[in-house]
Amino acid sequence: MEMNLAEAIREALEEEMAKNERVIIIGEDVAAAGGIMGVTKGLLEKFGPERVIDSPISEIALAGFGTGAAMMGLRPVVEIMYMDFTPLALEQLMNQAAQVKFISAGKLTAPFVLRTQYSLGRHNGPQHSQFFPSFFANIVGINVALPSRPKSAKGLLKQGLRSDRPTVFIEPSYHYFDYTEDVPQDDYVVPFGRAEVVRRGKDLTIVALSRLVPEALAAAEELEKKGISAEVIDPLTVRPLDVKTIADSVSKTGRLLIASDEHSQASVASEIAADVYELDLAFLKKPIRRLHPPEVHVPTSPALEEEYMIDQESLIRAAEELMR
């Protein structure tokens, strides 16, 4: 069925809630309002106020709630409205949720999904647009999923709800509504730690994160017209990170471009570059290239924000430079 990213995520939630009565949702404005962008619309009516819960503006308490309820066997989906707010919950995530299994020597786990979104491209300014998955990717004991497209997003969310670890699920709201694709109606999961080659190519490998996956696919079409065949890889999860699929691709193309909405220093892109280097330098025809936004905060002005953002044009330019 054709659906956009927001609809695919809602469908995953709805199907999992119907299948497992221990799946509950809590977050700011998720119930009566159905979420600020409508992702959880209709779930309160379908599953009732015990399972779809509006929360006070309390990110620490939200992440703690998820940890505690999960320890007791519920499967909470905790929504934190903007990714920029997640550092408020970081203590709970890294010291508590991620460590429950360790502190209990395996007696307990805290498997909940922390859903959040970054809204770069929606003119929301420096404190409502940021993308920093490496904060979470550094934490042992959790999963970090970067859903980018409707079909894989549905399966990734289901996988998160069946994992025995906490999962941070970061959605690019830039693509919530802008295109649709065919999403299977059956029950499927997309396994964590297995990157998806979303486009085959032979001249260079583009690893794109989150929002930039559809952008990289569009850029690859343009590159094709210029005689450059780009392979596009979506890691899907950055913890666990599937380095092998990336390295296999680079061993074939010899060129690697990593595109991410993060700032470059200590980023997931840095991690991918380091991992590929560690595997084998011999097959690289050119040094690895990372494409990041400039070293400023996200400007609110639409014109300035546009200049800040990586787009198809900058992806094409970076790819062409790598081919020279």
Binding site: I24, E50, I53, S55, P56, S58, I60, A61, L62, A63, G64, F65, G66, T67, G68, A69, A70, M71, M72, G73, L74, P76, E91, Q92, N95, Q96, V100, K101, F102, I103, S104, A105, G106, K107, L108, V140, G141
Partner: protein, 340 residues
């Protein structure tokens, strides 16, 4: 609020005489069981202090329950099967009060495989035996408060009448998780009991100097959580507060008990607590919770020999725990990968 707690130094909770304890559900059997746990905790902590400081056998961070022994054993006496305790880095007393074997607690302090957490987590995480109602403890001030709310929500969701109990210290009421957690507990109407062990010092700083509004109990009430103040050195007073709270809590009305007590020693075993005025220390050492309990038991018909038998039992338990921990082995490192 049962008692005004604005000036905790002057707290004046009416003494509860043994003849009255039956009126709030205590029995001779329960009183003896509380007393036994108190003595066991005292002996365990004295030995732990010795192992950390005098003998230097143990290292790392630890936080002793000396002087606060009346609180955990009394509160957990109102628990029913399936109720869960969450606590802190000052948790040896709670683990022992819940009936976790001293061997397992001591082995955890030693970092040995027979510990409650296989020696992986250490002294700050000994409240760990869900089958005995010891669910979790954290070494981060206040972080278990919202976790307890999630635990209590699950209990409410399952509808089995259970409750969660979160123990923490007075310093905790200045951390964000306290305000967010109590408010969330009120909002979600979950069965959770908060127990503040107000030992009057947040690490090395006098709490009353950093407590806006001056009252922990009032702060809880401002967040919609009913507050009871108990004299934390008096097991009867603490038990009465817990018994009063229990009925409300199980109906989804969270309660906070402020149990006013005093740390006999420093924040950790190495801290000599020289920042505390000597007359204040003397005042409180004179109000030893175990001695208070013993005077009640003696006036309730027990003999000195009965008390001595309990002390001997506790000493033996702790001695055996040290022997067990000394002999126990260390988990192979590779086992850690199974815990992440």
């Amino acid at each position: 609020m049962e008692v005004e707690s604005a000036k905790i130094d002057e707290i004046n909770v009416p003494t509860i005489l043994p003849a009255e304890y039956g009126s709030f559900g205590l029995t001779r059997e329960k009183v003896l069981s509380i007393y036994k746990r108190m003595v066991l905790i005292r002996e365990f902590e004295k030995t732990a202090e010795d192992l950390y400081v005098t003998r230097g056998v143990l290292g790392g961070l630890s936080h002793l329950y000396l002087g606060e022994e009346a609180i955990a054993p009394s509160v957990v006496s109102v628990m029913k099967p399936g109720d869960m305790v969450l606590g802190t880095y000052r948790g040896h007393g709670h683990a022992l009060a819940l009936g976790i074997e001293p061997n397992k607690v001591m082995a955890e302090l030693y970092g040995k495989e027979g510990g409650v957490a296989r020696g992986v987590a250490g002294s700050m995480h000994v409240i760990m035996d869900p089958e005995k109602g010891a669910l979790y403890s954290t070494a981060i001030v206040g972080s278990h408060i919202p976790i307890a709310v999630g635990v209590a929500y699950a209990m409410k969701f399952y509808g089995n009448g259970n409750m969660a109990i979160a123990f923490f210290g007075d310093g905790t009421v200045n951390i964000g998780a306290f305000a967010e957690g109590l408010n969330m507990a009120w909002y979600l109407k979950v069965p959770v009991l908060f127990v503040v062990e107000n030992n009057q010092y947040a690490e090395y700083t006098k709490t009353s100097n950093t407590l806006g509004g001056g009252s922990i109990a009032k702060r809880a009430e401002a967040l919609g959580v009913r507050a009871l103040v108990a004299y934390g050195n008096d097991a009867f007073s603490v038990y009465r507060a817990a018994a009063l709270a229990e009925a409300d809590v199980r109906k989804g009305r969270p309660v906070l008990i402020e149990a006013v007590t005093y740390r006999m020693k420093g924040h950790n075993p190495y801290d000599m607590a020289s920042y505390r005025p000597q007359d204040e220390v003397a005042h409180w050492l004179d109000r030893d919770p175990i001695k208070l309990m013993e005077s009640r038991l003696l006036s309730d018909g027990l003999k000195e020999d009965d008390l001595k038998a309990i002390l001997d039992w506790a000493k033996k338990e702790v001695e055996e725990a040290v022997e067990y921990a000394e002999k126990d082995g260390v988990l192979p490192f590779d086992a850690l990968y199974g815990f992440v």
